[in-house]
């Protein structure tokens, strides 16, 4: 602390002042090295903590923190002499350029062994360019197809790809409608034109094509849209039997409200993101009841784990928090097995291991295993439905906690 030096200086000569100031400036570095020798492993956490995606970033950070604290409380990484996990959290904002800069900084200045993040696909893609160059593992739950589609060796994605999620969003809906005795012929798709919306819409389109279902509306719109009326006018004119909106929070609230205004009662099947967080229910109240959504994972599949999150943070464990928690746990398991913090060793273990136990039990596959591209091959998306302020898994039937309600 530069401000406290004078108290200890004996006779404030210039030399004393200089020496103490130098010590003051140096002390954080000296201290940090001391801690590092006392075995702390720096793990970078890059999340959008400000800007349009901040809420999701904060949720994600909470998930990572929960698991890191649990690991440290249980004695750290045992094969590395009980080394503690030290999270270095950084704000990527909601712009990809900043995300890349922040990643660069963590790698050069904070000496992180791996990076977790960053919710939005566009941000994760920007970060992955940096981590790939430096050969440091990046664990993520972003799911745009581009993430594992570029042949990168240092990226690990714990959930299914957006196109697979989009296809499941479609297939699950068809299955739920069929169980309720309705055959879908015409559907509408609307999505925000980012990496996430575009890839997931492609999956929906493929699913519909394969099933011979006609897409009567297929519309992209810009992120941060302030007037959805033209979209909803088109939806009403299209005669669709179900609508698949792929959007974050702000737009999802507007879309559902505008649909209710125009008395469009067809089922809306959301594309995760804005549809599966507590704010969706808070913003819509009773109108959220019965809204379906696809989700890469859901908290009711492993309540014994996810209730710990609710207890600490006061809201249910949203899927991005859950999946980032899994990222953290998988990294800890990899460190344990590798007995090393070298990126090369970590990468080898991450590629060649089936991770079981701990938080991986909360994933649909019950375990995590990455293929050559870094994709977790065991994860399958689920359909969830809003029931009385909670999200209930309703599809596929092997994991469903309740039967879906289809309001056609």
């Amino acid at each position: 602390m530069p401000g406290t030096e004078r108290k200890y200086g004996l006779g404030p000569t210039r030399r004393h002042a200089l020496a103490l100031t130098a010590l003051g400036i140096a002390s954080p570095f000296v201290l940090r090295d001391a801690v590092a020798q006392g075995k702390a492993i720096n793990v970078g956490v890059i999340m959008p903590l400000s800007g349009a995606n901040a809420q999701f970033g904060i949720n994600s950070r909470n998930g990572v923190e929960l698991v890191a604290d649990e690991i440290n409380a249980a004695g750290g990484i045992k094969s590395l002499g009980g080394a503690r996990i030290n999270l270095v959290v950084a704000d990527s904002t909601s712009t990809p350029t900043t995300a890349a800069n922040v990643a660069q900084r963590l790698l050069t200045q904070n000496d992180v062994v791996a990076i977790l993040g960053a919710f939005a696909s566009a941000l994760t893609i920007a970060i992955s360019e940096v981590t790939e160059r430096r050969g440091v593992p990046l664990l993520t739950m972003s799911f745009s197809d581009q993430i594992t589609g570029r042949g990168f060796e240092n990226i690990f994605q714990v959930v299914a790809k957006a196109s697979a999620i989009g296809k499941a969003q479609f297939d699950g809906t068809v299955a739920i409608a069929a169980a309720a005795g309705q055959k879908l012929d015409k559907i509408a798709i609307m999505y925000e034109d980012t990496a996430y919306g575009t890839s997931q819409a492609a999956g929906l389109r493929d699913g519909a094509k394969a099933a011979g279902v006609q897409i009567v509306m297929d519309e992209a719109y810009p992120l941060g849209i302030t007037d959805v009326t033209p979209l909803i006018n088109k939806l009403r004119a299209s005669g669709a039997q179900a609508v698949f909106p792929v959007s974050y929070l702000n737009d999802s609230l507007q879309i559902i409200r505008a649909m209710r205004q125009q008395k469009i009662a067809i089922p809306a099947i959301g594309g995760a993101a804005g549809y599966v967080i507590p704010d969706f229910e808070k913003g819509l109240g009773e109108f959220s009841e019965g809204v379906l959504s696809i989700s890469p994972a859901n908290y009711d599949l492993a309540p014994e784990l996810t209730e710990r999150f609710r207890k600490r943070y006061g809201y249910f464990m949203v899927h991005e928090a859950l999946e980032h928690a899994v990222c953290m746990d998988v990294l800890a398991q990899a460190l344990e097995q590798a007995k090393s913090t070298k990126p090369d060793d970590l990468r080898k273990v991450l590629h060649g291991t089936r991770f079981e136990g701990g938080w991986t039990k909360a994933m649909t596959g019950g375990a995590v295993q990455f293929d050559k591209t870094g994709l977790n091959t065991l994860s399958v998306p689920v359909m969830v439905q809003w029931r009385n302020k909670e999200l209930v898994t309703v599809w596929p039937s092997q994991v469903a906690k309740s039967k879906a309600i289809w309001a056609s």
């Binding site: 349009a52 034109d193 519309e219 719109y221 941060g224 033209p230 609230l253 409200r257």
Partner: protein
């Protein structure tokens, strides 16, 4: 019928664009300052209305006058403390100040309110009136009606009150106004406060169908400038015409083109207007 519906939707949203832009044009018209931070006052208005709803249970439409009053006071203080000092400074200094204000307000809001989206729940939020095949969204209609009312109130104020006439006199010729015993300095403060207050009022009335967040200003800032320049910088009537025009252009373009191109169509029209009529639709030569 789709065209009629689109024009109707466009007019309703355009009415809101008009009222939030009148503030900007008023500040420029009276003070000659381009206020880049104007859209941040829209954000502040939304937050005032949001907290009035969350804490006092006040409907955003009823909270709109409150938003106006709070931001009016803030605007008066900001003008006194900051804007007044650059009134005679070079334009670059004025731009730096208002852009700086934009950054400070946005980040202060991020610090205070967090970056999440906040949304109110009102009973009319999901209802609409049906006129044959046409749908009129109630929250849009309410926002439009409130905008028209506030626009009319401003018009009457400027037209017939002593303050309004004094403000117009200051805008036309500050020196002559001073010679007539008008305190030009005070008129500038009033104009700035009124301008940002009106924009905040607009922010409050759109809250029932939008969400409040510290970064919402960014969605509106370009629109506001388009409206004002299209109508004629400094002209209040121009802002009304510009606002309605922008609303209708956006709405109609969505019929023929993907909604992503909405603003592209708008800016093509905008550039055409500027090329053919640089003063704007109703702009008087300044």
């Amino acid at each position: 019928m789709a065209v009629v519906q689109a024009i109707l939707d466009g007019l309703m949203i355009g009415g809101v664009y008009a009222v939030i832009s009148i503030g900007l044009t008023l500040v420029f018209g009276v003070m000659g300052i381009v206020n880049f931070a104007q859209a941040e006052f829209l954000m502040l208005g939304m937050f005032v209305a949001y907290f009035a709803w969350a804490w006092l249970g006040l409907d955003p439409l009823l909270a709109a006058p409150l938003a106006f009053a709070v931001v009016f006071a803030l605007g008066a203080a900001l003008q006194r403390l900051l804007i007044r000092r650059v009134m005679k400074a070079p334009e670059v200094a004025q731009i730096f100040l208002t852009v700086g204000l934009l950054i400070v307000l946005e980040n202060a809001a991020l610090l205070m309110f967090g970056s999440g989206f906040r949304s109110v729940t009102t009973p009319y939020q999901t209802s609409s009136l049906q006129l044959g095949p046409l749908f009129v969204s109630v929250p849009y209609l309410a926002a439009f009606a409130m905008s028209v009312a506030s626009g009319l109130a401003l018009f009457l104020f400027m037209k017939s009150s002593w303050f309004g006439r004094a403000m117009r006199a200051t805008a036309q010729d500050p020196m002559a106004a001073k010679l007539m015993g008008i305190n030009a300095d005070r008129m500038h403060m009033l104009a700035f406060a009124l301008g940002v207050g009106l924009t905040a009022f607009g922010g409050a009335v759109i809250l029932p169908y939008l969400t409040a967040s510290p970064t919402v200003g960014a969605q509106f800032v370009v629109l506001m400038f388009t409206v004002v320049v299209l109508g004629g910088l400094g002209s209040v009537a121009g802002a009304v015409v510009g606002g309605l025009a922008v609303g209708v252009i956006q709405s109609l373009s969505a019929l023929a083109f993907p909604i992503q191109l909405q603003n592209l169509v708008l800016f093509v029209v905008f550039i055409a207007v500027l090329a053919l009529r640089p003063k704007g639709l109703l702009g008087a030569a300044r």
